[in-house]
Subunit: 333 residues, 2 copies
Amino acid sequence: MPRSIAEIPTPALVVDYDVMMCNIAAMSAVLPGARLRPHVKAHKCTQIARRQQDAGHRGFTCATIREVEGMAAAGLGEDLLLANEILDARRIGAVLASGARVTVAVDSLQTIDAAIGGGVREVVIDVNVGLRRCGCAPADAASLAEHARGRGLRVRGVMGYEGHLMMTMPDDRKRKAVEESMRALLDVHQNVGGELVTGGGTGTYLANRWVTEIQAGSYVLMDSQYGELDTPFAQAFWVLGTVISSNDSWQVADAGLKAMSLDHGNPAINGADVSFVSDEHITLVAGGHAPMVGDRIRITPSHVDPTIALHERMYVVRDDEVIDEWPVDLRGW
Amino acid sequence: MPRSIAEIPTPALVVDYDVMMCNIAAMSAVLPGARLRPHVKAHKCTQIARRQQDAGHRGFTCATIREVEGMAAAGLGEDLLLANEILDARRIGAVLASGARVTVAVDSLQTIDAAIGGGVREVVIDVNVGLRRCGCAPADAASLAEHARGRGLRVRGVMGYEGHLMMTMPDDRKRKAVEESMRALLDVHQNVGGELVTGGGTGTYLANRWVTEIQAGSYVLMDSQYGELDTPFAQAFWVLGTVISSNDSWQVADAGLKAMSLDHGNPAINGADVSFVSDEHITLVAGGHAPMVGDRIRITPSHVDPTIALHERMYVVRDDEVIDEWPVDLRGW
């Protein structure tokens, strides 16, 4: 393991341990215990999930079967929610056989049948609350729940993800939009029943007072887009690059779009403008003192989830010291 | 290994073997043998590189140290060019010790020193030919070459990547722009010497008649952006997704931006419009017959290189049959 940031081979992920722990604590203060079901898709790292568990959160949200498998294998499978539709649930059946508890989102007869076919025992009804993605129409939720129960499944409640309301807007407007979105979910819940009303994320963790649990994940590490919101969470990870080329007009570091996702726009670098990012390079124009060839730079990606998924490991740092190296062990599908 | 496309767990990469082999043959017909130094960064797969070698190309281009290591380990290290600047060349020294031949791009005194420090013996002088990225100013190339030779390195020639000229423009304009860009490189080459003038890519493989070898890579698998060019190369790979949710207005498949890169824009789906892509989902609106829950869909990414890098493996298919499974074994750094 490298001892200091200067020894880390680049490009690489670096995580500031203390900032990350502060983020976990800040969220737990607002949403303690079961009020938060941390989403592991943002960090894909069981070492981080373990620290969220240590903070009192015992249930987790997953986006992929691989995440479910990895969490269960790491002993974090007390109450996993696969918040996504699947059509082949046989691997979930195998996870259940290992002793973990897994609840799967369903939004159609086909996904209910697939759950049963794979040996799933518990589901939530995924309801569309305004995002053009998965989830049944609110009017169909009760009959799906009835069908699921009729086929022997336990229906634990409803899920609705207001992903279209995550980003920046005036507080009162966001609260109103979230309330409207969630009102549909609560109406449906009356007919579906079950103990869970699950939804939300880092962008609505305060505004959404309607669900029983919030599925936030990005708050742990953050990114430049979530950084635009007014939250107590601070940037806790960067892509580390080395300046490999420099001239009077621009500098180039060895961290490109294979090391960070651009789907939410270019990343940010303190004291520099990012000109463009290509496969293995980022071209920047420094405002003041230009970094020199060999210098290390920290790059703040615009979107945490897909950036983490590009890396095999993250280096955990305190100031310039590397204190641990964690595998990004929930990658893939 | 799954036997048919229907059995492949999604999301996944699928490669049409026959189309890929046609692309390799079509390029070899125009640029036989050493006229092409295939760039492995586009496919990151030694199984594909081996087929390029079978077609007569014995030298390869790499973008990362990991690619160099993987190619050498696979017995494809006869003449590898690391077309990128590095500041720690020790791992290259280890590859050289294994018997492979590796030439490294340098564009500064620091990168020359790093090459020597790592045990590198051969370099090319990387010259900026108009792309705002690496490469020394043309005026500095000769003195860098002299410095390198004075320190015992063999200078094999010059490199200049006209990456800013890859995309679509009228043929005569592209030819003229490439000629201007390469004229600077050829002028420099007169003073630097060496047998190599290396550059180019899939977007200029015909227009660039000035280099001794073209570094094309994307032509093997292609993407929707290169597909806009008038070339003989056909789309040879897709991201395979399964429709997991559907309603009267849109459908959702389980292949999102963790399975394909969006840096060149949204992907394309035959017969459908792509509404948006999120971490694990693609929302589409079908023009005619809407795909049903459970249907498989083929998605054409806009940018091949970073999409391949997201996957552990590719399934090689002929029609609906899976004929092989290849690891994407050059991933990472």
